[in-house]
């Protein structure tokens, strides 16, 4: 135990040194551009779920409260909306060919819907060949990347990777993995892991899964072959995590994590070194109120879904 403590203290010190002492050290900066809008002004939404269509560089925002899905062009203007038939939609993803995937859930099951480019449902995709470990699987998050769909049961920390026809390709039991990796006495382990759930989830350009676990004040990156890395420290200062929310990576490998408690979006490089953060609680347009889901388009614009019906704010990120 003493040996573990010594290791932990040592690495704690290193991590503390890695956190910039001030905002000025950051070379990456974010600038507020605009909120997603239509001709009547900013479109309100509450913790919308976001997805980017990379082919057309359009952003989709699913407003769970209103059961509507709105499509915005690369200038942030609404160009189309649909989704009234999806009463309990929990997430949305866009395929390479413009197909729209909508995930809905009920008490008993989740359903994956395929829609055409107009949002008209064309079929339900049945999940096939799920292993026994996934017998109670009920997805509530959805990501399309590298030609496959990632379905996530955030409460059980299960990830099922399926083809576009629903055939199971591989799975990940992140709950078991996290429990294997946790140290400490019985009470400590119970407190840390008895009731964890995943919040943010995304897949980067290399196929690594990114996810956050709010109750651990941490974010994680897991490669397709199972290598898991975690980062983050609890705290209220720059670079530290309060309640972690959404997570996404850009083309340069930078990782963005929203912090619902601190009301910021933190930017880390691909080695998990803190670069900068933006937003902050407040009522200015550039401020954020309980930021949650994140998305990034081909132009490097970062989309941030918020609470308080503040809709989705768009930021541009530059590095010097």
């Amino acid at each position: 135990m003493l040996k573990h403590s010594a290791k932990i203290l040592s690495v704690s010190s290193i991590l503390l040194m890695m956190v910039p002492a001030s905002f000025a050290l950051a070379e990456t900066t974010a600038s507020f551009r605009y909120p997603l809008s239509n001709f009547t002004g900013p479109v309100p939404s509450q913790w919308a779920k976001l997805a980017v269509d990379p082919e057309r560089n359009e952003i989709y925002a699913l407003n769970q409260y209103q059961n509507d899905i709105r499509i915005f062009d690369e200038h942030g203007m609404e160009i189309y909306s649909f989704g009234e038939e999806f009463v309990s939609a929990t997430d949305i993803a866009i395929g390479d060919d413009g197909d729209v995937y909508v995930l809905t859930k009920s008490h008993a099951a989740s359903t994956l819907h395929l829609c055409d480019y107009r949002g008209e449902p064309t079929s339900e995709i049945e999940l096939k060949n799920l292993p026994a470990e996934f017998s109670s699987f009920r997805a509530d998050r959805l990501v399309y990347a590298q030609g496959v769909l990632y379905l996530v049961d955030s409460g059980r920390l299960l990830v099922a990777v399926v083809d576009s026809d629903g055939s199971f390709k591989r799975g990940h039991d992140l709950d078991a993995t996290l429990k294997q990796l946790t140290v400490g006495d019985k009470r400590t382990k119970e407190k840390r892991l008895a009731d964890i759930s995943m919040h943010g989830f995304d897949v980067d350009k290399n196929g690594n899964m990114l996810f956050t676990v709010p109750t651990l004040f941490s974010a994680f990156r897991m490669s397709a072959d199972g290598e898991l890395e975690g980062f983050g420290r609890a705290g209220s200062g720059p670079g530290k995590f309060g309640v972690t929310g959404g997570i996404v990576a850009d083309a340069e490998g930078r990782i963005y994590v929203s912090d619902r408690l601190r009301c910021v979006v933190l930017i880390f490089d691909e080695n998990f070194e803190f670069q900068s953060e933006f937003g902050f609680r407040g009522d200015r347009p550039s401020n954020l109120i309980v930021p949650d889901d994140l998305a990034i388009d081909n132009n490097g614009n970062v989309y941030v879904a918020q609470a308080a019906n503040r809709g989705v704010s768009v930021f541009s990120v530059t590095s010097k």
Binding site: K7, V11, S12, Q64, N67, S88, T90, T104, S106, H107, P131, E133, G155, R170, G171, H172, D173, A176, T177, L178, Q180, L181, V183, R192, L193, A194, D195, S197, T215, L216, F217, S218, F220, D225, G226, E227, L228, E229, G230, F231, G232, R233, A234, S236, G237, G242, V243, R260, L261, R262, F280, R281, G282, D283, R284, N287, I289, V290, A307, A308
Partner: protein
């Protein structure tokens, strides 16, 4: 076959290993008493988390107290989440989602609005679009004149600092654990926190109202792997505690009796124990407890309550507010655990309204959704009959 390479995980997971070792955890964040300060407050507000507009003078990380709570407790399903986006939260207290959801039901050809403000406690959480209830009937806590809607928040009922007996400054001993889960009284001079961090005698809620009666006694039990305190065995004092604000609801004056002194008669206890469902009176004392219609057992020590209550009622038992109502909110009017306005529960307004999401948990107990037709029967009538057996 799942492609889980766990040996590789163990070999290459140094960063995660250490992170989990030093990162701390939010589970048991309160641990029966006050948590670490910067979980809710920003010590140097303007430096690292500036607030524009109207700063809050308590340095809270939310726009108000309840918004701060919901930063963590917002969400659905089970666990410690009590405010979902689709009515899916299934904790004992209920889901504040229903305070944000109007729904309509067509009654005799006319759409009737079931307004969100009638489904529970209208807590103010600006970040979550929960604002002061404008209904003049709810300007003050019903049944009383001592608590204003403009002051209502999570911290009206829960003491975010978890103080017991006034806390250290008033001579209270150290809190060594939660009082929510049936722990036995410590023998080292420390004390347990209150059930659900509920405010204690003398505790002053926002707006200045001081609580005159102590926190109730109850024991919550987690459902394995999925829920915080989903099962509750109630001991005593709940109605008296609610009456801190709803002052006249326990005075017995033309109101349903509730409270520690209002023990069930032998006849009502027999009804409770025999009643299983409409048309089924085959229940027995040993297994008659129904989590949808709980009662207090007249017990004043939480450790004497059950982690898995199944036994029915006796003449020490009493009805309490939470026998019929959710503490936070529910899908039904008046925060009812069931719909008080329909004859057959399968016709409950929230079940038939097209506005209610498919994922909403209109009926549930022990964190599990209840299908009225399957679990009780298609002709199940009001659960008032659990005691009254008039069906």
């Amino acid at each position: 076959m799942m492609k889980l390479n766990r040996m590789m995980l163990l070999g290459l997971a140094l960063v995660a290993f250490l992170t989990l070792g030093i990162g701390g955890a939010a589970w048991a964040f309160h641990d029966g008493g006050v948590a670490h300060c910067d979980g809710c407050h920003s010590m140097h507000q303007s430096a690292d988390n500036p607030v524009s507009g109207t700063p809050n003078d308590t340095l809270l990380k939310g726009s108000d107290a309840s918004s701060t709570c919901l930063n963590c407790h917002g969400g659905g399903g089970t666990s410690y989440h009590i405010s979902s986006t689709d009515g899916s939260a299934r904790n004992q207290g209920g889901d504040f989602y229903w305070m944000t959801k109007d729904y309509t039901v067509v009654v005799r050809g006319t759409p009737v609005l079931y307004g969100k403000d009638d489904h529970g406690h209208n807590v103010i959480a600006a970040d979550f679009t929960m604002l002061v209830d404008a209904d003049p009937d709810n300007a003050q806590a019903p049944g009383g004149t001592v608590y204003n809607a403009t002051d209502l928040g999570c911290n009206s009922c829960h003491d975010p600092h978890g103080q017991v007996l006034g806390g250290t400054a008033a001579g209270g001993a150290a809190i060594s654990g939660s009082g929510s889960y049936g722990a036995t009284a410590p023998v080292d001079g420390s004390i347990l926190g209150n059930y659900r961090l509920l405010r204690d005698t003398g505790s002053v809620a926002p707006g200045g109202m001081a609580f005159g009666t102590p926190a109730p006694i109850a024991r919550a039990t987690n459902v394995s792997g999925s829920s915080y305190g989903a099962i509750v065995d109630y001991g005593s004092g709940m109605s008296e505690w609610c009456a801190n604000c709803h002052t006249t609801y326990t005075d017995g004056a033309q109101k349903h009796p509730a409270g520690n002194a209002e023990h069930l008669s032998a006849g009502y206890a027999a009804n409770y124990n025999g009643y299983v469902a409409t048309g089924d009176f085959t229940g027995v004392l040993a297994s008659a407890f129904d989590g949808l219609v709980p009662f207090e057992r007249g017990v004043t020590d939480g450790s004497l309550l059950s982690a898995a209550p199944v036994a029915g009622a006796d003449t020490s038992s009493n009805v309490m507010c939470l026998t019929c109502h959710r503490a936070h909110a529910s899908a039904n009017a008046n925060a009812g655990k069931w719909d008080f306005e329909v004859e057959l529960l399968v016709e409950s307004h929230a079940l038939v309204s097209p506005d209610v999401p498919a994922g909403a948990a209109v009926y549930y107990k022990d964190a599990v959704v209840v299908d009225i037709a399957t679990d009780y029967g298609p002709y199940q009538r009001s659960l008032c009959n659990k005691c009254h057996a008039k069906d």
